[in-house]
Structures are given as C-alpha cells and as structure tokens.
C-alpha cells in the first residue's frame, strides 16, 4: 500500500495553547516542525478560557511561587506530583512575561504592571488569606493567547496542516515513535508523516459527558491515539464539574447567580440545599453543591421528562435586579434554555468542565510508561502536553487558572527538551513495513459498511451512560453497571456505518472516528473510578466517603489491552524544597 509520505523533525498534534507554545520553541530553534489541527488553530478550545493565567507575580499583594505551589498541591488533594508542581509554579512568572513580550494584551494596573484578578483557591502564606494571582486579557484571555502565539509561529515559519485529523502513531519494533498517520479532510487523502518525534497536544475529552462545557471538538483523540499505541492513561477517574450548566446545553451559569440570591429547587419545589448544607445552603462550595444536585437526580427528585436536572430559580429577585446585575445570564437562559429567568427557573445540571487525567508524562513533557522496576520510563520520540497530558500538576482536582499556565510551562519545556534531544538524534528511524495497516483497516471497514450502528445514537448513549454512572455522585454499584453498559456501547462503536462515503469533507466519517476515541476515554474513566475505593478531589464515592492515603495515594494507569489497571506512586518529593505532607483539606 503506497501512501504518500512527508518527513519532519517534529510533528505536533494540536494547535491550541499548548501545541502552539511547543511549536514556537521548536520553530525558533530552527527545527522542521508541522502542527496539525482539526480546525483553524485560533478556533481551538483554548479560545473559551476567560478567567486567566495563574502566576505569583505579586503585582497586587505580596506573593511567592511557594505559596502558589502549596495551593496547587492542596487543590490536587495531594495527588499532584510535587516535582512537576514546583517546576510549574517557579516557571510561571517567566512564561507570563514571555507572553507579554510576544504582545499579549494583558489587563494593566495604573503603574503599567499586569493587573491580577482574585480567584478561588489562591492564597497568601499557605492558606492565610486570598491573593490576586490571575493574569487576564479582559474576558478573552484564551482568545488573546491563541492569537498571540499563532502570529508568532507564522513569523517563525512553522508549517500548519489545518483541517487534518491525526489518526494513529507509528512505533517501531523498539517502541520508539517514528511517525504519524493523518487524514486530510478536504481530499480524504491518508498520509504518513515520518518524523523523529510526535507531541500530542489534542486537549480534553469532556464530550464523554452528556452535560459538558467543552466544545464539540473535545473528543479525546490524543488519548485514543495513545491508548491504541499501547500507552496507558493516567488518573482518568478525575473530572472537574461545575454545578450549574444549562441542562441539555452545557453552557455555564456563573456562581455569581447564587451569590445574588438564586436558589436550587428539586421536582417537589424543595430548596434541597438546606438539607445538605444548612449554613451555606446554595452558596456551599462547588463540589458540595454538585454532589447534592446529582444525588437529588439519582434519588428520583430530578425535573423534566427524564427527571435529569434541577431548577435554578431567580424570579424572586425581581426583573430589575436580573436585568441590571445578571444581564448575561438572562441572555444565556433565553438562548440556550429557552426560558426567561424573570418568570421561570433555569434547568441546570452538574456539568463536566476539565479533565485532570491523561497521557502520563514527566515535567519535560516526555511520555512515560512503566517498564520493569521503573514506573516512568520515557517512550523515545513521544511527548504530550496540555489538557490531554497528565504531568501530574492537577492531581485529583485542578486549581482554577492553572490549566493555561500548564499549557505555557509544559509546552515550552517539551519544546526545549525535544530540541536538545533532536540534536543528539539526527536520523530518521525506519518505518515498519506494516506501519499503516491497522489504521487503513479501520478506515476500510467504515468505507465498506453498508449497514450498522448510527454514530449519533451510539454517541448519545455513551454520553448518557457516562453522565449517569460516572457523574459527581458515584458508588461501586453505579460504576460497575456503567462499565457493563460502556462495554456494550464500545462494541457498537466498532460497528458503525455511515451513509456518506465521499472523500471530501466527510463530517460523518470524522465523527465516527472521534466516537472510537471517546469510547476509549469513557471506558478508562469508568474502570479507573470503580477501582478507586476512596473519595479524593473530584472523585466522590458515596460508599467510600474518606480519602485513604494508606491505600490510594497513587496514580491509576489504565491500559486499553484487556482494560487492565496498574498503579504508580505519587511523587511527593519536590525539586528543591521540603515535601508538603498530605493533610486534611479544609477551606
């Protein structure tokens, strides 16, 4: 089978914040780099980020990277690797100033320094009092970051392959990554890219949940690509939820609404938060509210035909307050829930927001896998960065604004490390003869199949199953039932058929291929969550309510082959400072 072939030093899959940051480092060092993206790079999901980038610049009050490090470790519920966290927090100021230098339009103080916003979980002096640490560009931080980095890459003559879908890695007999197989959407052409290295930067997989704040493009392709190539996925049980996404849409309603007096009601019209949090009620912390909402739904007190959401009531605040103080919320409710909150409550549901787990890496971005006695041996030629990677700096729960920081720090770090590595490894390795066979077989099947499962239906069943069985409120029984369901769904996903057989912009085919990746992520999530018999960070098990450091202070590693789990220790040893010992997490 003679597929066309092209050759590069480095191939980066993903043109979001992390991929662009790594590409810049490599292009400016003179390497021959290709960046692949399913969509135009500046329309990557990073564009959605508004809140800001965390860095202890100390422009507002005194701040220190060590305090940021403490907040991150505590936020992670002690599952974060402390070497990587120290690395990230120490580099934060540097990467923010670099971005400023590249032309990022940060908000400013009167004295010209970067203005920093307050954000939950950021503290001074190890939890003593809040500190302003988030650097933002109005409410378009992600947008500004993408545009700044994209322009800079164009200047550095980085080569972009836009509207291409990466399908699979090519590894040689020693396990080294030597190539990538990708599909050009405009022509349907499949091309082999022979390369000395691949960086996966494909973003999160939040679309495994029925209710998700993620754009449709977040289908976890990088995770599917890695898993099919024999790479395990780390800590996939940990997903961050936001309590109030619009039911059926996912669009976020900010916490501010409950701050203004909005209250949550179940099907009986009961203000149920009074039972779960008698003092704070509707203003309890995100995880408490999310869990209560999910429990109400699970126990049959949900609202609607499917009893699958609760209501956020605002009308008692009066039209004037709503119009004056919450205009954006009214706009969202009208557009995406088809209700006017001045008269009717908004249907809301806990909504998946961020993926903490991913492809296991060290803080150079190298993908690491267990081998013999070594729990973390680098895979030659393979890197992963951004939301698809698990370094792990977020552990069991991400601190707000640390994700954009993660993109910059580890994008740059991976670029630097790879640049060095390329100097010592100047040769292309040979491609195995059967390099593309398995990928072509997958595509052939889809081309040939005349009858089979409907992609949209299987996708919907998958998202429902994950929402229902691996949502905020988890029990062993729910999770093991979910595993059975997802296995049936995964089998169906292998037997899809599409009507459109065209080679040109065949969206149906792309969606069938994305679904194959999504079901891998869904299975990894359910299996990892079922096995972890404790509550930690974003994983809340109703049958194991406490954190269990004696048995579970370790990272899960899920392998696709046989759907097996193994574990590796958390790195509690920072680079230069003393270890932060696990403590009970109270805010």
């Amino acid at each position: 089978m003679a597929l066309p072939k092209q050759t590069f030093d480095a191939v980066i899959v993903g043109g979001g914040g992390s991929g662009l940051r790594a590409a810049l480092q490599l292009s400016e060092a003179g390497h021959h780099v290709a960046v692949f993206s399913k969509v135009f790079p500046t329309r990557s999901h990073t564009v959605a980020a508004q809140g800001g980038i965390g860095a202890s610049l100390g422009n507002m009050q005194e701040d220190h990277w060590l305090w940021h490090m403490y907040d991150t470790i505590k936020g992670s519920d002690y599952l974060g690797d402390q070497d990587a966290i120290e690395f990230m927090c120490r580099k934060a100021a540097e990467v923010v100033y670099e971005l400023e230098h590249f032309g990022m339009p940060f908000d400013r103080n009167a004295d010209g320094t970067i203005y920093q916003r307050p954000f939950g979980g950021h503290s001074q002096n190890f939890g003593e009092r809040p500190v302003q640490r988030a650097c933002a560009a109005a409410d378009r931080t992600g947008h500004a970051m993408l545009h700044t980095l994209y322009q800079r890459n164009v200047r550095a003559r980085c080569q972009f392959f836009v509207e291409w879908m990466a399908l699979d890695l090519i590894r040689d007999h020693e396990g080294a990554v030597v190539g990538l197989i990708a599909l050009e959407m405009e022509t349907g052409q499949v091309v082999i890219f022979q390369t000395k290295s691949v960086i996966l930067a494909t973003g999160g997989a939040g679309r495994i949940f029925q209710s998700s704040t993620n754009a449709f493009i977040n289908t976890g392709d990088g995770l599917g690509i890695a898993a099919r190539a024999g790479i395990p996925l780390e800590d996939m049980e940990f997903w961050q939820f936001h309590p109030t996404g619009v039911a059926g849409a996912g669009v976020l309603i900010t916490e501010g609404v409950r701050g203004e007096g909005g209250i949550l009601l179940n099907a009986q019209g009961e203000r149920f938060m009074e039972r779960y949090a008698p003092t704070m009620k509707d203003l309890a912390s995100r995880d408490v509210v999310s869990r209560a909402m999910d429990q109400e739904i699970k126990e049959g007190r949900g609202v609607g035909h499917e009893k699958d959401h609760v209501l956020l009531k605002l009308d008692h605040l009066g039209a004037e307050v709503i119009q004056k103080r919450l205009p954006g919320i009214r706009e969202i409710a009208l557009k995406f829930a088809n209700v006017d909150p001045i008269r009717e409550p908004i249907p809301v549901v806990p909504t998946c927001h961020y993926q903490m787990g991913g492809i296991p890496t060290n803080y150079y971005g190298q993908v690491v896998v267990p081998r013999g006695d070594n729990p973390a041996e680098p895979v030659p030629g393979l890197y992963a960065i951004g939301e698809c990677a698990c370094v792990s700096v977020h552990g069991a729960n991400r601190l707000g604004t640390n994700s954009l920081l993660d993109l910059l720090v580890f994008g740059k770090s991976a670029g630097d490390h790879l640049s060095q590595w390329l100097k010592g490894n100047p040769q292309q390795r040979d491609l195995p003869k059967d390099a593309a066979d398995r990928t072509l077989a997958r595509l052939d099947r889809l081309n040939q199949a005349t009858t089979g499962e409907n992609v949209a239906e299987v996708g919907l069943d998958m998202r429902r199953a994950v929402q229902q069985h691996a949502g905020v409120f988890r029990t062993g029984q729910l999770l093991s039932e979910g595993i059975d369901k997802i296995r049936v769904i995964a089998e169906r996903a292998r037997h899809t058929a599409i009507q459109d057989k065209s080679q040109v912009f065949n969206t149906a085919r792309i969606e069938a291929l994305e679904l194959e990746n999504l079901v891998i992520v869904a299975e990894a999530t359910l299996v990892s969550a079922e096995a972890r018999t404790e509550s930690r960070g974003a994983q809340a098990r109703d049958d194991f309510k406490e954190r269990d450091d004696r048995n579970w202070l370790k990272h899960s590693l899920w392998s696709m082959e046989g759907s097996r789990l193994h574990y590796k220790p958390v790195n509690l040893q920072p680079l230069t400072v003393e270890s932060f010992e696990p403590k009970v997490r109270v805010y």
């Binding site: 399913k38 969509v39 500046t42 329309r43 990557s44 999901h45 990073t46 564009v47 959605a48 378009r140 947008h143 545009h147 509207e163 959407m185 405009e186 998700s212 704040t213 993620n214 754009a215 449709f216 493009i217 849409a249 996912g250 669009v251 706009e331 557009k335 995406f336 459109d500 065209s502 040109v504 912009f505 065949n506 969206t507 792309i510």
Partner: protein
C-alpha cells in the same frame, strides 16, 4: 454527490467552533437552513465562519452588528436559530 453538497459539507465541518455556544447555535442553524443555502448565502456563511469565535458570538447574540449590511439576512437566520 453534487458540488454544492460538498460545499455544504465543508461549511458543516467549519461550523465546529472553539466556543460551545457557537457550536450549539450553528448546529441549530444548520439543521434548519444548511440544505437550502445557495449562491451568495454560501459565501456569506463562509465569511462569518472566518470570524474569530468571540466576534461571531457577539454578532449571533445581537450584541454587535455586521460591518457589511449584506450579511444581515443570513445573520438574522442565525440569530433566530
């Protein structure tokens, strides 16, 4: 498949956005109108899809108006979706 079909399919893919809000709005718009789009409307839609997501969202939510009045009729359909 005809050429117009493929032009529509190209637009269908390019309606995948970075912002969930835009995905939802355009999904509804396409379900109602994509099959019937032709001629200039195809070109205008393509132009709108070239906009940065945030600018497109502002237009779609009616927070801003297009510079080119020729965009109005199609934009109106998007706003009503």
């Amino acid at each position: 498949m005809t050429g117009d079909d493929r032009a529509q399919e190209r637009l269908r893919w390019r309606s995948r956005r970075g912002l969930l809000e835009m995905d939802l709005i355009l999904q509804r718009f396409m379900a109602r109108h994509l099959a019937a789009l032709e001629g200039d409307d195809l070109i205008v839609y393509d132009r709108l899809l070239d906009l940065p997501d945030n600018d497109f969202l502002d237009l779609a939510m009616g927070r801003s108006e297009p510079e080119d009045p020729a965009w109005r009729p199609l934009l109106q359909k998007i706003r009503e979706s």
